[in-house]
């Protein structure tokens, strides 16, 4: 649980010199907090010309089933990305734990490599892979598994596949760190006490690595729900998520109050997901 302790941090009895945080704090105040307040103000204009005050933008957004579905789809996308990365990351983390230091360095390099490539490039690569004439479909047709190409682009499945690969390092890095720091004796003790490998995983490994998973899941959730480029390039016009909706309202429709409402909704959607994960972590620690 060293990771948790480090996050919960703070050396007791030490005075914190807050002035050290001043440069970043002031920058945030000027370029994040202040615009944020302005944005909140803009959301209370009733019309796109920003002439009239009122709650019309809010009621219009939340009164429309289409926009409510966009919120739900965005949340769902985040949940799917978290689930998919989790299912792939845990087995890999177990492999990583058992690997020699040399193999671990190679694995870390492979895991980090996607981060060294631009998201745009990674996303377009997935188009090549998922398209109707792409690698996946050509292989499936070549093997005779399907006669008509599968529709993967502009589908949620295709997007989740691409996001899983793109967001994977965010899940893996915290998970690998905590997994590697876990005491081997705990696993050995569990095995010697008669527990099978599966039981050991669910009763010991999983609960003790949960803080790392929560950190990873938080990053993946926040990142995939706001992944504007991947969502728009792979999802296309058929799949609408909050980031694309905001972009469209700002640059195409020029309805800034409405875009402001959508922005706040996105922010609170992500926050809600993160808080749910945090609550899960507290629950797991006390139980």
């Amino acid at each position: 649980m060293a990771g948790v302790a480090a996050v919960a941090g703070g050396v007791p009895g030490n005075k914190v010199d807050w002035r050290l945080a001043a440069p970043l704090g002031l920058t945030y105040l000027a370029f994040f907090a202040a615009p944020f307040v302005i944005l909140l103000g803009v959301s209370f204009y009733a019309d796109s010309e920003q002439t009239r005050l009122g709650l019309d933008s809010w009621t219009k957004f939340y009164g429309d089933a289409f926009y409510r579905k966009v919120i739900f789809d965005t949340l769902k996308l985040g949940v799917f990305a978290v689930l998919a990365t989790t299912l792939l990351a845990y087995p890999l983390a177990l492999v990583f734990r058992g690997a020699s230091p040399r193999a671990q360095r190679v694995l870390i390099f492979i895991i980090l490599m996607p981060l060294l490539t631009s998201v745009v490039i990674r996303t377009f690569a997935w188009i090549v892979i998922l398209a109707r004439e792409g690698v996946v479909n050509q292989t499936l047709i070549g093997l005779g598994l399907t006669s008509t190409p599968l529709n993967l682009l502009q589908t949620e499945l295709g997007l989740v596949i691409a996001l899983t690969q793109i967001e994977m390092p965010l899940m893996l890095l915290p998970l690998l760190t905590i997994m590697n720091g876990m005491d081997q004796n705990l696993i050995d003790a569990s095995r010697a006490l008669g527990a099978s490998k599966w039981r050991t995983f669910f009763k010991v490994t999983l609960p003790l690595t949960l803080p790392g998973w929560i950190a990873g899941a938080t990053l993946v959730f926040a990142s995939s729900t706001t992944a504007f480029i991947s969502q728009s390039v792979i999802g296309g016009a058929r799949l609408v998520y909050l980031p694309a909706l905001i972009y469209q309202q700002v640059t195409v429709v020029y309805n800034w109050p409405f875009a402001a409402v959508a922005s706040f909704t996105l922010l609170f959607t992500v926050l809600a997901g993160i808080m749910a994960l945090g609550w899960l972590g507290r629950f797991a620690r006390t139980s």
Partner: protein, 387 residues
């Protein structure tokens, strides 16, 4: 603490009666453990080299040796965490090599106790029973019984983090014993404990091991621990067992120079065989004295030898004699009931001499004295290593 009560070799009668059912059934099932020609290497490095060891039912054998001697590898092979390259592990005559760790019914107490930090003391103790599929009623009953056995009944709902080192070790013992294991393995069980607590826990472990009539192996690099609680000690070096024997045998009759210098402290004096005598040899020491040393070993006249003498088997005297040699007293340290003298002999050798200290005595005589063997001395003869 309540531990004081357990300082007697046999636990109080009431405890005996309370535990009689389990202790009696365990006594009948004390199973011998056999290691038959175990060999294991990591990569190219040989860690365990053809080790054969028979641990009798209900016996506690300590694997004693410096780090890297292969003792921990041996322990992990018995537990099933490492699959040995060669050789067999048998419990009660049946090989267990193909069994995974969770089917070997071996209890382990780890050096850092390895209690599950996210579980309470009671959950830790019940862990193995739950894994085995015991009903919650049996679990609760056994947990209560084990907590009473290790005198931790009031700590059932604590988390391991809230316990002291000694308490954690009691829980670790209870957790291992709750499974009614066939073999108990102890991995450096006292290394993480305060010195004051060690003796208490040594007595406690010995008591439990006897009470449950368990065949046990303890791994340690600390000779005092091994001496204190082992029935027999296997001194290991470079993957091999150098000597296997009772603590007294190991201390009084070290078989090799390695065992001699690893166990206790000793003075090594260079000399030469002069002639065989009845039951031993007459030795001409390099420092001029002549000793008659009993030995069953075979040495040729003129052969260079090393004579090992424990510090407490030497004395300092004022008068010269032909079995004494002159020394210069450098330093005297009063250590508890002993006075340790550091002396130098004429040929430059440094020796330690331990004498029992009378109250008020702070240092010995200074200057020149004559050093010889005390009446009960039993020096050991080794062939001098070739240089």
């Amino acid at each position: 603490m309540a531990v004081a009560g357990s300082a007697f070799p046999t636990p109080p009668r009431i405890v005996c009666a309370q535990m009689s059912a389990t202790a009696a059934s365990a006594a009948m099932t004390a199973q011998p453990l056999t290691l038959d020609g175990i060999t294991h290497s990591y990569g190219g490095a040989l860690a365990v080299d053809n080790v054969t060891l028979e641990v009798k039912g209900g016996e506690l054998v300590a694997l004693l040796g410096p780090s890297g001697c292969g003792k921990t590898t041996l322990l992990r092979i018995v537990a099933g965490f490492i699959q040995q390259g060669n050789g067999k592990v048998l419990i009660d005559g049946r090989p267990i090599d193909t069994l995974p760790p969770n089917r070997r019914e071996i209890g382990i107490v780890f050096q850092n106790y390895a209690l599950f930090p996210h579980m309470t003391v009671a959950q830790n103790i019940a862990y193995g029973l739950a894994a085995r599929g015991e009903s919650s009623q049996v679990q609760a009953q056994r947990v209560e019984e084990m907590l009473a056995t290790v005198q931790m009944a009031s700590f059932a709902d604590r988390k391991p983090k809230q316990l002291s080192g000694g308490q954690q070790q009691r829980v670790a013992l209870a957790r291992a014993l709750a499974m009614r294991p066939r073999i108990l393995l102890l991995d450096e069980p006292f290394a993480a404990l305060d010195k004051n607590l060690r003796l208490d826990m040594q007595i406690e472990i010995k008591r439990l091991q006897r009470q449950f009539a368990l065949t046990a192996i303890m791994v340690t690099h600390d000779q005092d621990e091994a001496m204190a609680i082992a029935d027999r000690i296997a001194v290991m070096s470079q993957g091999k067992i150098e000597q296997l024997g009772t603590p007294v045998q190991i201390y009084d009759e070290p078989a090799t120079l390695f065992v001699n210098s690893f166990i206790g402290s000793s003075n090594l004096l260079a000399g030469r065989i002069e002639a065989p005598v009845e039951g031993g040899y007459r030795i001409a020491l390099g420092n001029g004295a002549a000793w008659t040393v009993p030995s069953a070993g075979r040495f040729a006249p003129g052969q260079p030898v090393l004579v090992s003498v424990r510090p407490e088997q030497m004395l300092l005297a004022d008068e010269a004699a032909n079995d004494r040699f002159p020394v210069e007293l450098k330093l005297s340290l009063p250590i508890g009931g002993e006075l340790i003298h550091d002396v130098t002999s004429a040929d430059g050798g440094s020796l330690k001499i331990a004498m029992s200290r009378r109250p008020g005595m702070a240092s010995g005589r200074s200057g020149t004295a004559f050093c010889g063997l005390s009446d009960h001395a039993r020096p050991v003869l080794f062939p001098a290593p070739q240089t």
